[in-house]
């Protein structure tokens, strides 16, 4: 279905700031109002700065760890503090530094590289940032309440259950981290939609800068990889708060279920961290060779296959849990296979190096350092895939060495290279080549001294996560060396901060394209204006600045392109066909607003109040958040009109179309929801398989209600589709009626789950609890359908929408189809239980 051919004229003046100039429309709000900014440049830089602060905090904690271990039997930290310190070190580094800072770079760079004026869900970016910030603050505040998590960043059950970890420490972790993860998944949706739907004219998928490919795959991996942990955290927090026995072996739960869910997230996480950094390498390295990346197609294929393979390796973190030999062999083979796409990328970089005469700049030094360290980390990774070796090395310092080689080598070194490379873009000034070399060598030497030593420490039998060790076992000198090395590494980071602060004031001005790069973000002299492009130039090459002389021959603001005129005083960028990159629509972008921030604060109240067990306050947060979301969506999109866009294009505004950004964003969201649903279903099937006697002991759901609930799911989807069809035909009365029916059936279906499960005691067995959790999740989605359908009805009744503006109905139909599918699947599983299939 498409309305592209329905060319209609714009009826008259509407929202927008037509009295303002293009520059004024895109200007940052002044003073404190800048907090309401939705610009990807501002949000991206905030992600980067906040992530870097968490990096410094987590790095400081690492120095405490190293200082404690400098001599045997040290009393610098007591055991409790040490456990808190290493737990927070890992958690902050993984959840609040690595992912957010890389997403920050992506949020900042993607529109600039692809020829867009902003990401296409800018408010979602602002919302995500505040979720991240507030979630991070919740996690950190645990130190103030003397309740810092001390169960390890992996939070294994039963140690993390309330029986063995009373108090709030584990709750701080589960609630704060889950809240911060909202930012990761919203950024994923945002990046998927932006990369697929907002590229410069002519930028087909095959002409996309390789960095965008890396980010696209990473974003899909986040959408699928984070849900298992989010669902696992919800289950564990429910167990802590309400005593549901998901992981309790006495009632048919299984501690291994937590490990599976955790590593289903945790392993892809490693690649989620590595891939954007590898994308930076694939961007930086060709610039300094002066030649395009060799083997672009191979690299893209390698990145895609890495995305798939990474979801098949999780159990190699669990080789010592007593898995059957066959599983061990399969996961071992899968783990070694990931060396192939890694090898392809490494040899593609080597082949690129051979293409020209590389320049040894500071970013390039960090790329070389990355290659050195990461190749070593990859080789020890292959060693660890060998099961008999893994049994020795697992949970020893060998693994600590390996994971830091992969993560610091694979992520931190490219990141620092990226800082040196893109700093001129952030600040308009160059960082110091001299200081940069010192930073590199201090970090490189410090890193290798610290962590290379640990391979040996681990083989000599030192386990991870021990706050002290007796002398005379053969670990004393090795630990001393590691600790000294860590101070050198820290000195390098410190010097970097000095250089960064210094260059903002006294670095030499960068000018236009200081490194002679080929990608579009360097089109303007730094600092690029906030709207990125006066006109969005057509792109015919992967390195437009190298191959399209018309971009370099003229002053950047006079470069010709699409959307060179602004109408209606609205922020706009061009929307493209996801594959060919041809312009198909004009995307109207939101102006600065406080609503996403308000919604994030309300969600923070909801989470924080749960932590404080102030349940009335939870209700306030929940209602406030719903209000925020309603306000957010109230103003309808400008669909239904067409405008001239320059370069001979006449394009619809915010087209209601399967190829449109909203639909792509919806698919990304559904992917996340399906992954959440899949995680809880996995839990049910896992327990059914491993604890059959408890499955037998679980009471049967009601067959009739299960069948009716499934039918209800189908009806919800059908009514939502009918409401969409009516709305798209501008039959608003009919659409409103069908919307009410959609809401009613969704509510009835959610009630159906309740009736189906009445005989099942969620406190009786873990399987019973999982069935309730699964149904509760689907019921929450049905609740969203109710809310959304009533929202659509209210907007029509209030005459807030005009003919053509059926975006919300179009989107709801897609959402209801997904929800209907999950309802039918959940009801089917309950019916299978009821018919005795489970028992």
């Amino acid at each position: 279905m498409t309305v592209l051919d329905e060319m209609r004229d714009y009826p008259g003046a509407r929202k927008g700031e037509p009295h303002k100039s293009f520059e004024e429309v895109w200007a940052q709000p002044p003073g404190l109002k800048v907090l309401s900014s939705v610009s990807h440049r501002v949000v991206g830089k905030r992600f980067i700065a906040t992530g870097f602060i968490f990096f410094l905090i987590a790095g400081f904690l690492a120095l405490l760890v190293r200082t404690q271990l400098i001599v045997p039997g040290n009393t610098f930290l007591d055991a409790e503090t040490y456990n808190q310190v290493f737990t927070m070190h890992g958690s902050l580094m993984m959840f609040l530094f690595a992912i957010p800072i890389l997403e920050g770079f992506a949020v900042y760079l993607i529109p600039l590289m692809l020829g867009a004026r902003d990401l296409i869900f800018p408010r979602l970016g602002q919302f995500g940032y505040y979720c991240y910030l507030l979630g991070g603050i919740i996690v950190l505040s645990s130190f103030i309440f003397d309740a810092a998590p001390a169960g390890g960043w992996f939070m294994y059950t039963p140690l993390s259950t309330s029986e063995y970890t009373p108090g709030l420490s584990a709750d701080f972790w589960l609630i704060g981290i889950t809240f911060a993860e909202i930012a990761s998944v919203t950024a994923a949706v945002e990046l998927i939609a932006a990369i697929l739907c907002a590229r410069a004219p002519g930028m087909s998928l095959t002409k996309m800068p390789v960095f965008a490919w890396y980010i696209l795959i990473t974003a899909f991996m986040i959408a699928i990889g984070f849900p298992p942990l989010i669902m696992g955290s919800i289950l564990l927090e429910t167990q802590r708060l309400l005593g549901l026995p998901f992981f309790d072996p006495a009632l048919g739960g299984d501690p291994l279920l937590w490990q599976h869910l955790f590593w289903l997230f945790g392993h892809p996480e490693v690649y989620i961290i590595f891939l954007p950094a590898a994308g930076m390498v694939s961007t930086i390295l060709p610039t300094f060779v002066g030649k395009p990346l060799f083997g672009y197609g191979f690299v893209v294929a390698a990145v895609v296959s890495m995305g798939f393979i990474s979801f098949g390796l999780w159990a190699h973190h669990m080789f010592a849990t007593g898995l059957p030999i066959l599983s061990l062999s399969l996961f071992s083979a899968a783990s070694t296979m990931v060396a192939v796409p890694t090898g392809i990328q490494i040899f593609a970089w080597i082949a690129t190096l051979a293409q020209g005469r590389p320049r040894l700049t500071v970013p390039m030094l960090f790329v070389l350092g990355f290659l050195f360290i990461f190749v070593l980390g990859g080789l020890t990774g292959v060693m660890l895939a060998s099961v008999p070796f893994n049994w020795q090395a697992h949970d020893s310092y060998f693994v600590v060495a390996h994971l830091h080689y992969v993560l610091i080598g694979g992520m931190v070194f490219p990141l620092f290279g990226a800082f040196y490379y893109w700093a001129p873009h952030f600040t308009g000034r160059m960082m110091s080549e001299t200081l940069g070399k010192w930073v590199f060598w201090l970090m490189f030497i410090g890193f290798n001294v610290t962590f290379f030593t640990m391979h040996l420490t681990g083989l000599r039998g030192m386990p991870r996560r021990i706050s002290t060790y007796p002398e005379g076992i053969g670990w004393d000198r090795l630990n001393l060396i590691s600790t000294l090395g860590s101070y050198v590494l820290a000195a390098g980071v410190l010097l970097f901060i000095v250089d960064f602060l210094r260059h903002r004031r006294s670095g030499p001005p960068a000018g236009r394209n200081p490194w002679g790069a080929g990608t579009l973000e360097w089109l303007y002299p730094t600092v690029t204006p906030g709207f990125n492009f006066h006109a969005i130039p057509p792109v015919t090459s992967r390195e437009p600045l190298w191959d399209q002389p018309e971009l370099n021959d003229r002053e950047a603001p006079t470069v010709e392109g699409i959307l060179n005129v602004m109408t209606d005083g609205r922020r706009e960028t061009v929307g493209c066909d996801p594959v060919t990159g041809e312009p198909i629509q004009i995307l109207r972008l939101p102006h600065p607003t406080w609503i996403p921030m308000f919604s994030a604060v309300m969600v923070a109240i909801l989470f924080g109040a749960t932590l404080a067990s102030a349940y009335w306050l939870c209700a306030v947060g929940a209602v406030g958040a719903l209000l925020g979301f309603a306000l957010w969506g109230w103003e309808p999109s400008d669909s239904g009109v067409t405008r001239f866009a320059g370069l001979g294009h006449r394009l619809p505004v915010n087209a209601i179309d399967r190829r449109s950004h909203m639909h792509v964003g919806l698919i990304g969201t559904l992917l996340i929801l399906f992954a959440l649903f899949g995680s809880v279903v996995f839990g049910g099937l896992f327990l059914w398989n491993t604890q059959p006697e408890f499955a037998d002991a679980t009471a049967r759901p009601v067959q009739l209600w299960a069948a009716l609930t499934g039918a209800g799911g189908l009806l919800v989807a059908l009514f939502a589709v009918a409401a969409r069809n009516a709305a798209m035909a501008s039959r608003f009365a009919g659409a409103a009626g069908l919307g009410v029916l959609t809401a009613a059936f969704a509510a009835a279906t959610a009630w159906g789950f309740w009736l189906t499960l009445l005989p099942v005691d969620p406190w009786g067995t873990a399987l019973g609890a999982v069935l309730w959790a699964m149904s509760g999740f689907v019921a929450a989605l049905l609740g969203t359908v109710v809310f959304w359908a009533l929202f659509n009805v209210a907007r029509k009744l209030a005459s807030a929408v005009q003919p053509g503006q059926a975006m919300a109905d179009f989107q709801l139909a897609g959402f209801a189809k997904g929800t209907g599918l999950m309802t039918i699947a959940a009801a089917g599983l309950l019916l299978a239980c009821a018919l005795g299939g489970v028992g």
């Binding site: 990328q345 039998g461 060790y469």
Partner: protein, 310 residues
């Protein structure tokens, strides 16, 4: 911490004294050499690519990134699977030792389905004979690891994991919990003692009897204190107080080389310190500090426990 654990023997995967550890060490050496060669090759490739100009061929990517890793990994996978089969293949299950992890000590039962001889914090193994370790946990997840004998295996509540090991050399080998298990996780170690088969048989024989009777008056007083202070609520001393299994079995406690799960040398001073100050020496342990015992009582009970060697 006045430990002298150097005497307790190696805790190193590089000192192999068991079949599993030997296989793993062999793989370690092999993979380290192969990995080193590959690493040097990649460095060389980078260096020559850096110097060359206008090179760069597709076959580099196909050769270096696809064919080479697949061939190498296939070889490695075959070797490692072979080693895995050798380690984990079906083995004679005559001798079973059940080890249960607790926060923060090890309950050890020899022949759990037969005579069920209970001991703690030391695992004796006969050299040259496969032993099936049945690994369980009573609270949180622990992991059983004696690097010189075998790789680690987790002890998971609600599950029983089996690990078959064959010690190959007589000696004492330190082991340690390898899965983070709480506050005193670093203080949860133990010893594996590999004995000649005859010596092992003697050890098992000695383990069957009741505890040694107190001889000296102080030891007799110590036994009384032991009973009166309520120790039998958790600890068993066969022939004196039986049944309780909450804490380690103390029937031959004085015969162990170490105290507090492989952490301190077994002697009178450490024993007295331990009883009166457990929570200081091992924070979070289930046993409270018995700091209300009078000096003479404390010395007596320590002397009694030290005398319990078979």
């Amino acid at each position: 911490m006045n430990s002298e654990l150097g005497e307790f023997g190696a805790q190193s995967a590089l000192v192999a004294a068991g079949q599993n550890a030997e296989w793993a060490l062999w793989l370690t050496v092999l993979m380290t050499i192969a990995g080193g060669v590959i690493f040097l090759f990649v460095l060389w490739a980078i260096a020559s690519a850096w110097r060359s100009d206008g090179g760069g061929r597709t076959w580099w990517i196909v050769g270096g990134g696809v064919i080479f890793p697949i061939v190498t990994l296939a070889v490695l996978f075959a070797l490692s699977t072979f080693a895995l089969r050798a380690i984990a293949g079906p083995q004679d299950e005559e001798l079973v030792i059940e080890v249960t992890g607790h926060q923060y000590w090890w309950d050890v039962v020899y022949d759990p389905e037969g005579v069920a001889l209970r001991d703690a914090n030391e695992v004796f193994l006969p050299v040259g004979r496969p032993v099936t370790l049945r690994l369980k946990s009573d609270d949180v997840i622990h992991s059983f690891w004696v690097p010189s004998i075998a790789g680690k295996m987790d002890m998971i509540p609600g599950r029983v994991n089996e690990l078959t090991v064959t010690a190959t050399e007589v000696g004492r080998y330190r082991g340690q919990c390898a899965e983070f298990c709480g506050l005193s996780h670093p203080l949860m170690s133990f010893e594996a003692v590999a004995l000649e088969p005859e010596a092992f048989a003697t050890f098992l024989g000695n383990l069957q009897g009741e505890a040694r009777d107190p001889v000296r008056p102080q030891e007799r007083q110590g036994q009384e204190v032991f009973v009166e202070a309520g120790c039998p609520a958790c600890h068993t001393i066969r022939g004196v107080a039986e049944g309780a299994q909450i804490g380690p079995d103390l029937t031959r406690v004085g015969g162990r080389a170490s105290l507090g799960a492989g952490m301190w040398e077994m002697n009178l001073g450490n024993l007295a310190g331990w009883i009166s100050d457990v929570q200081d020496m091992k924070p979070g342990a289930e046993m409270p500090s018995y700091n209300h015992l009078s000096g003479p009582d404390l010395r007596a009970v320590a002397a009694y426990l030290e005398s319990l060697s078979q």
